[in-house]
């Protein structure tokens, strides 16, 4: 089975995101970046399938943020090919345009299975995963948390999450694009030594920058953080003082045994 995985860099929300002077975009120069968590799960799922039954895993990414480190880590985990797409602009394009860039790189790979995180927290006008399926002309199903080989050749069995810890088991004919929300096990940890070893042996296949059509656009008029603490009464003081106050509140509500 030929599997292609898309991985993205997104701003790390541990640090506050700054809004630029236009008020309509982030100042990404001051942001730090991490791998999109559900993409990391997509990679883990691909590696699990490779380990279970043999597959080649190609990883495709836009050259943005700290992507090299993410790609070397992917190689250390077991990815066979790494394809890095140069960007014409300093920031990644919106999902629909990004899908066109990824599709151009993925089509020559003729994958049986494309795995990508179902969502990234910085998406406002669409999800890359279904847009990528549309750009590739492949079927799509998302919010998937487990992929196994199917009963018949050329099929897989996947689980789609629904509320209430309920899942739908679906039989899927290949080729297909899956939006992954979780792998069958947490993304594996790779020691730094293995990542460093991968840095010495891994050759990225680099693709030239291309400009993709943006498609029907929405206009961002303003970005702003929600009014924080607008509802909660904030309790301040030492840990013991705050703990005592919470205990008092719970006792007043009849919640203490």
């Amino acid at each position: 089975m030929k599997i292609t995985v898309v991985v993205r860099q997104i701003p790390d929300l541990i640090e506050p995101l700054e809004i630029d002077s236009s008020g309509t975009a982030f100042d990404l120069g001051s942001a730090s970046f991490i791998v999109n968590e559900s993409d990391d799960h997509a990679l883990e799922q691909a590696i699990l399938l490779k380990e279970a039954g043999g597959a080649t895993v190609s990883v495709v990414a836009l050259d943005f943020g700290d992507i090299d480190n993410t790609l070397y880590t992917a190689a250390a985990k077991g990815a066979d090919r790494i394809i890095k797409i140069a960007l014409a602009d300093e920031t990644p394009p919106p999902p629909r345009a990004a899908a066109a860039l990824y599709a151009k790189a993925i089509q020559p790979l003729s994958p049986d299975l494309v795995l990508i995180g179902v969502q990234a927290h910085d998406e406002l006008d669409g999800g890359l995963s279904p847009f990528l399926a549309a750009a590739l002309g492949l079927p799509y199903v998302g919010v998937i948390c487990g992929v196994k080989p199917g009963a018949e050749q050329g099929t897989i069995s996947v689980c789609k999450e629904f509320p209430g810890a309920v899942m739908a088991r679906l039989n899927v004919k290949l080729p297909v694009v899956l939006g992954i929300v979780g792998a069958e096990q947490p993304p594996r940890y790779v020691p730094v030594a293995r990542v460093r070893a991968a840095m010495k042996t891994t050759q990225f296949e680099e693709q030239e920058a291309a400009t993709a059509a943006v498609g029907p656009a929405v206009s961002i008029c303003r970005l702003y953080p929600p009014a924080s603490g607008s509802h909660a009464e904030m309790l301040a003081g030492s840990e013991d003082e705050v703990a005592a106050r919470i205990a008092e509140i719970l006792a007043q509500k009849g919640l203490v045994k």
């Binding site: 629904f162 509320p163 739908a168 899927v172 970005l223 909660a232 840990e239 703990a243 919470i246």
Partner: protein
């Protein structure tokens, strides 16, 4: 039909109309009242007429009955939706930001080559355009978005609107699709229900919920100690479940359980919309997080900016003393 109509995609799972549908109808009514259009509910299933009474808040209920819509698969649902939207030409199509919505809305937008906004919290007319307030970055950022093109597809966050209690004209129209639906690459096999044996967190009066701030599995003992002292149970947000530290039956949020306990103590949970969807109606919410701007404080009744690893032992001791 009118170019000012607002079309709502009814969500039906396991023969139940999803709560989000009535919320979408409320959003649609507000918009249609302002634009002078009608609210149209679209029911895609094998036997849609029985859901019509629950959709009376709509002016029209368009029902497509087809055996291939009996169980969910993206392709026939998108194909049916595409045909109806093309025929109706509504001003906006509202779809819940749900497991199904995250398939249908982007696929429909791609096929029709029309704009899509995700994370919708509020929608209103803005001259000839629409203005959508959308939440993203895990609920830590809002965007005011103008959508000029029509139809605009908006994914609305569950809980963003109160369910509609209004009564519209509720006229039901059965439609036949011009193009027959075809069998799909993705086929429903079976429902997989939560494993029996674990406790049902939806029945607990007191829940201690842990998120990333718990940092490692060993620290769950702190939450368990607090829950035990209160006579409650431990649950979690998605990242903790993904790590395998607690079973999926303990997950609160969009893909997990919706809980309404008397007391919900959120430890190290930032408050992404997907989590808030599952706990916002708790009677009392106490949140502890190191980030004073964490969205969880917007739904909590009481908040503490602190490291849970420092505060929880002190709180457990204080409760034992009281």
């Amino acid at each position: 039909m009118s170019a000012q109509d607002v079309l709502v995609v009814a969500e039906i799972q396991r023969e139940t109309l999803g709560d989000v549908t009535l919320e979408l109808l409320a959003a649609a009514r507000g918009l249609a009242t302002a634009t002078g259009g009608q609210v149209v509910a679209l029911v895609l299933t094998a036997d849609g007429a029985r859901y019509a009474p629950a959709l009376a808040a709509a002016d029209r209920i368009v029902v497509i009955d087809d055996p291939l819509l009996a169980a969910y698969s993206p392709e026939p649902f998108v194909a049916a939706l595409q045909e109806i939207v093309a025929a109706e030409q509504p001003r906006a199509v509202l779809i819940g930001a749900t497991s199904i919505g995250w398939d249908l809305a982007p696929l429909l937008a791609a096929r029709l080559n029309v704009p899509l906004v995700t994370g919708g919290k509020a929608i209103q007319p803005d001259g000839d355009a629409l203005r959508v307030t959308a939440s993203f970055c895990g609920g830590k950022m809002l965007a005011e978005i103008q959508v000029a093109a029509s139809p605009a597809i908006v994914m609305v966050l569950p809980g963003a609107y109160r369910p509609s209690s209004e009564v519209g004209k509720g006229e039901t129209e059965r439609r036949q699709l011009a193009a027959p639906l075809s069998d799909a690459a993705v086929r429903f096999d079976q429902w997989v229900l939560p494993a029996a044996g674990d406790l049902d967190i939806t029945q607990q009066e007191i829940l201690v919920a842990v998120g990333r701030g718990i940092q490692q599995k060993d620290n769950l003992e702190l939450a368990e100690g607090l829950a035990q002292t209160l006579g409650g149970a431990v649950c979690a947000s998605r990242p903790v479940i993904d790590q395998g530290w607690l079973p999926p039956t303990r997950q609160v949020g969009k893909s997990g359980m919706t809980v309404k306990p008397r007391c919900f103590i959120a430890l190290g949970i930032s408050g992404a919309p997907e989590h808030i969807e599952g706990m916002k109606d708790s009677d009392l919410i106490v949140a502890v997080n190191t980030d004073p701007k964490a969205p969880i404080f917007d739904v909590a009744h009481y908040g503490v900016v602190a490291d849970v690893l420092d505060l929880v032992p002190a709180l457990t001791e204080a409760l034992k003393r009281s």
